[in-house]
Amino acid sequence: MALDLLRVKLALSLGSFRLDLAFEVRPGETVALVGPSGSGKSTCIAAVAGLLLPDSGRVSLGDEMWCDTDTGTDLPPRKRHVGFVHQDYALFPHLTVRGNVTYGARARGEGRAVSLSKANEWIERLGIVELADRPVRELSGGQRQRVALARALASGARVLLLDEPFGSLDASTRAAVRSELRTFLADVRLPAVFVTHDATDALMLAERISVLEDGRLSQTGTSEELLARPQTRFVADLFGLNYYRAVLAPGRGLREARVGSVVFHLMTDHDGSVALAFPPSAVTLSSDRPTGSAQNSFRGHVREILPLPDRIRVVLDCGVTMAADVVREAAVTLDLDPGRTLWGSVKATAIQVYP
């Protein structure tokens, strides 16, 4: 199996919607395309698979040109060797698991015996041997996903494209299937692109995350980069970060920045228009005015209380909207209740400041 770089550059219009982006995926790398519904992420991978033709752009894998609107190159999907895993897996309902997995090799003109041995190899690798002769309608969501992956790879896929791979799973199986998929993707060493609207999916699965907003990539980076320095409000919201914009007068070291009706104290050497970002976990809540070393303390009232699996997120209205995470026990000691007045404090050094 050749390990090649996938390059994508696309522009296309669908009605008033315009998609315009470029990205690369290295062999063995998993990239998440994250965006709200209608941001064009599924359209994007459909164009990579050859299911639709962009108005302009280029798609190539290694030195093989799949699509180049300048030269009029447009390989049909069947010649691109992409493993396209659809949101609801799109298994052939009239075939067994083995029939599904054998389909690709047969379609590519392999003989019955060769196709079958290829299929069996992937059936084994994905741990679905005991399902092989079952009709696909009897399978669970997680099993379906494995069959879809086996089917894609047995067809000789050199790139994996996954459209909302967990979209049709319920919450209880989602985590298990996700970690299964992560192990598997690391194992097959193919360039992989998956589309999701879920930040957790992206953080758990992807080495690199590309955020798509209104048909454009607003930010691309590792999860650490995105979590530390979100470039747009949407990216910050996606990962639940506190994010503000401010204008700084020239200076160095500890500085003041006005955001709305409050003033933040920051450690930075940047000037001019900057972004401030910090995670909710950097905010400490207290009932009384804090006496600790935090330079930023804001008094506000509780607007929202959101229970998360391992903690509680409190949204505080203190001139600006600020999210804070506290452990469950704190709910009692702080007497958490909507409308209650609390103090939120953040250390100046915990706030990322960047242009």
Partner: protein, 267 residues
Amino acid sequence: MGHPAARRGGIRPFGILSILLPLYVAVPLITLLLVTTPRSLVEQLASDMALRALVLTLETTVVATVLCVVLGTPLAYVLSRHDFRGRDLVDTLIDLPITIPPVVAGVALLLAFGRRGLLGRYLDLAGVQIPFTTLAVVMAQVFIASPFYVKAARAGFDSVDATLEKVAGTLGASPWRVFWTVSVPLARPALIAGTVLAWARSLSEFGATMMFAGNLPGRTQTLTLAVMSAMESNLETAVAISVLSLVLALAALLVAKRLAATRSLWI
């Protein structure tokens, strides 16, 4: 799921009224069986007239049905999968033979393919004469029966998720292969049901055949035409052929229903 109230009490006048129509259909059909005896049935069906009509009917309806399938399947697929200018027009045109009187269809066929017809005059020059031949019987049947197949096949293709076809393409299948390995197997129950319906409609064809092919024993006299001829000479023969037609139609319906039901296996 019916409404619980309707299931328990029901609406009494509805119960009574809904018996009337089935009774109205059943009584004449049962009468048909009562006025004959098995012995008379066998005797009459062994008659030269009945046998020739039966053989001719089976031959022509099978050929007509095959033609409906061969010509109708690609059409149904195109109508289902492609949006093109004039699709509604083609759709309406294809449905038209269901609604126009078969006799009118027969006149139209005659005017088009008759010796002095629009196309017929050129065929005549080439030495080909269609009206009042067995070929005319088949043509009349295809004209009348094809909409039944095309409609069913199109509904069948419509019910096949286009995503499956796209995915098959990404797995390396050519459009031709996708059609045969995904679209047709998944639409199969509808295709077979449509085939049976088209066959049954060919079987009952009368008006268009009468006008376009005439009523020539051994050449164009199908079962329905034989019934009409027999009514003038021998009622017993007419009844026997009618019973035979009834049995064939019933068998076709049962097969179609059976196949329509297997669809649910694949969802």
